[in-house]
Each structure stands twice: as C-alpha cells, then as structure tokens.
Symmetry: C2
Amino acid sequence: MSHMAYACLMAVDPDHVLRSAAALLTRKSTATMDEVAKAAGISRATLHRHFAGRDALVRALETLCIAECKAALDAARLDEGTASEAVRRLVGAAEPAAGLLAFLYTENQLFEGEEQNAGWSLIDDRISALFRRGQLSGEFRIDLTPAWLTEALYGLIASGAWMVRSGKGAPKDFQHMIVELLLGGALRREES
Amino acid sequence: MSHMAYACLMAVDPDHVLRSAAALLTRKSTATMDEVAKAAGISRATLHRHFAGRDALVRALETLCIAECKAALDAARLDEGTASEAVRRLVGAAEPAAGLLAFLYTENQLFEGEEQNAGWSLIDDRISALFRRGQLSGEFRIDLTPAWLTEALYGLIASGAWMVRSGKGAPKDFQHMIVELLLGGALRREES
DNA sequence: CCCGCATGAGACATTCATGTCTCATATGGC
DNA sequence: GCCATATGAGACATGAATGTCTCATGCGGG
C-alpha cells in the first residue's frame, strides 16, 4: 500500500523513509520510532534495519539537511550579483529545507555531544563569507558580525517555518518576510 | 549552602528551585529530574513533593517565564516615546529571561498539546500592539505584519541567547545585536 | 524537653521507548 | 517453478526515567 514508488521492488527506498520522517518530525518532534515507521508505511523492524536507532535516524536527517543546505547554497550562486540578491536567492532556495532545519535547530541533542557534524561549519563559513562580502562592498553595515548575521538567518528561517506551519503566515510570504526583515529591518526607509 | 534565604527555615524555597532548574535546563535541556534536584541542592523526593513531575516543572517554568516577560513588558514602558525606543527597552529588559525563553521556545511539547498557556497570547498581543503602533505612526514599514515581527523577535532573542551561551557573542552585545538587526536590518543605511 | 514536620536517602514498581530476536510471507530473479 | 532476500508482524528483553513508597534524621516551635 502506501506508495507505488517501489511497486515492482521489494526494497524500501531509504530516501523516501527519510523524507517521511522529516515531514513527521517537523510536525511532531517527539514522534517515536513506531510513528516514524507508520508514517513511512513500513514496519518498525524494517525501519530499524535501515537506521540502527533513533539517534542514527536523526543523524541521517542531519546529513540530509546538510546536503539540502549545500544544494541551496549552490543554487543561490552566492558570488553573483550583489550580496542582497544572493541572500534573497539563498532564502528562497532554502525554503524546502526550512522545516527540517527548524527541527534540527531545536534538536539540541546534536550539539550537546562532544562532536557535531563538520558539515555545519562549512555551511556557516559560506554564509558568513557572503555577509562579509556584503560588508566589504559597503552594502552591509559592519557593526553586526557575519557570525551574528548567520545565526540570525538560521533563527529567522526557523521562525518563518514555524509561522507557516502554524498557519499564521502564508508559504508565499516566507522568502519576503525573512529577507526583508533580515536586510531591511522593521524601520521604514526614507529612500522608498 | 547555596542561598541564605531559608537559613533559619527548613522549607525549600520553590522559587530558588525554579531558578536552578531554569539555569540547568537552559544549558542542558534533556536534564533528568535527578539532575534538576541535584542542581537545586535538594533530593529528588523533595523536588517531586513540590512539582508533581517533569511536566509540572516545565509548566511552572513556563509560568515563571511568562511572569518575567510581563515584568519586562512593564519595565519597558511600551507606550512611551517612539516605538523604536520601546523595542530597544524591551529587548534590554528581556535579556534576563532570554535563556529561559529560548529553552521554552524549543520545548515544543508545550505547543503540541491541546491547550497552551493563555499567558502567551497576552504577551504576544502587547508586543504586536507595539509594532502596530510603530506602523501607524509611520515609523515601521507596513509590509511586515506585527505577527511576523513578534515571531521574529522571539526567534532573534533565542538566537541571541544561543550566541551568548555558546560563547560566540558577548552578553554586552545582546541588546545591540538584536535591536539593530530587527529594526535596522543588515543593509547599510544612507543617512548614517 | 518533646512533638511536629519537612527533608534526605533509598527501595520499589511502573511505564515507555528502544533494541533484538524469530518466523511466516511474498516478491523477484534465475 | 524454485530459491534468495527483504519485509511484516509480533514476542521478548533491556534500560532509563518516572512516580510512589517507607523510614530515619534533624531542626524548630511550643
């Protein structure tokens, strides 16, 4: 039942399982392995055959999210055009990963351990470099550090995902909400 | 040890327990009741006498946080001066509660239930009203809804608390980081 | 001085998620 | 058509955190 994606194959598609898990955990972050399995349309035993445990599952989701973020970074072509345009493209490209990002953002278990996935540093660095580029070009103010702008971007993406998920905001406004606030701020600008 | 508030009394100070729990859970959100008790310098049995369970403890922390937020709202005198100044005062006044706020922000268990503490709506309303006042006075742009600005403020406070806690930002920059980004944005302004 | 009461320590049962196992089944390739 | 293999279903053990209990202790008030 469930899906026809593997109608002619017995093997479970691990990617499909990950997507289902992401969609479920985004809504209910405390879901058990049983619920994750049901959401993916497989048995708990099979789920456990593919992912050794909940920890491994979350790690796999982390890897998936890192890959999606990297893809978003690539798709956004951060080096082209003004830094503002690049930020706008980045937020737009990151929207599909926003829910998963918000989930992992609150999964502080990932950061309490001794080692965290090195992939995040690479992503942080690329985003920080973008903000630094904007500062060097005189486009961005320099009293806000690139590290803070990066962290704030994460926070705003998580808040935006939360707004959309709770129905208090429309998905079509996601990019505009975040980019306008992050770049322009709440103050009304004189120069229209 | 710890406090002298009840040096001559046997009774445990529930407020002191809550403060300790907040300080611990802010650092390690997965701490057990045992760890919370040890952090407060009491036994698990006594902790359980005051707070029926972990759920009750989190609810009490929620109530405490709501009270602190209300106090911050009052102290910020949102109706006085420009909306910008009020926002600045609000963020400054909210800093002591930022850590606890960030913890509760990630405690999605609070929002998955059927009912959430009504206190939050009151706080949301007051903050939204502040942003709306700024919009009506022409101070804030109107293409960003008060609801989004409110949500973004929560997100930025959480991100700021995380920056400070991880050592990537100085506590003295907390207010400036958040207010400048929330109001002014990352773009450099022409009019200095 | 003695009683009351809150606490600390610890034992104990319970619950829940997890991890592991076996076995029957159905599919797909050969 | 047969066999290898992956799956589903379920039983089972495990571990951790929780909730509840009893009992001894120690301080403070009367």
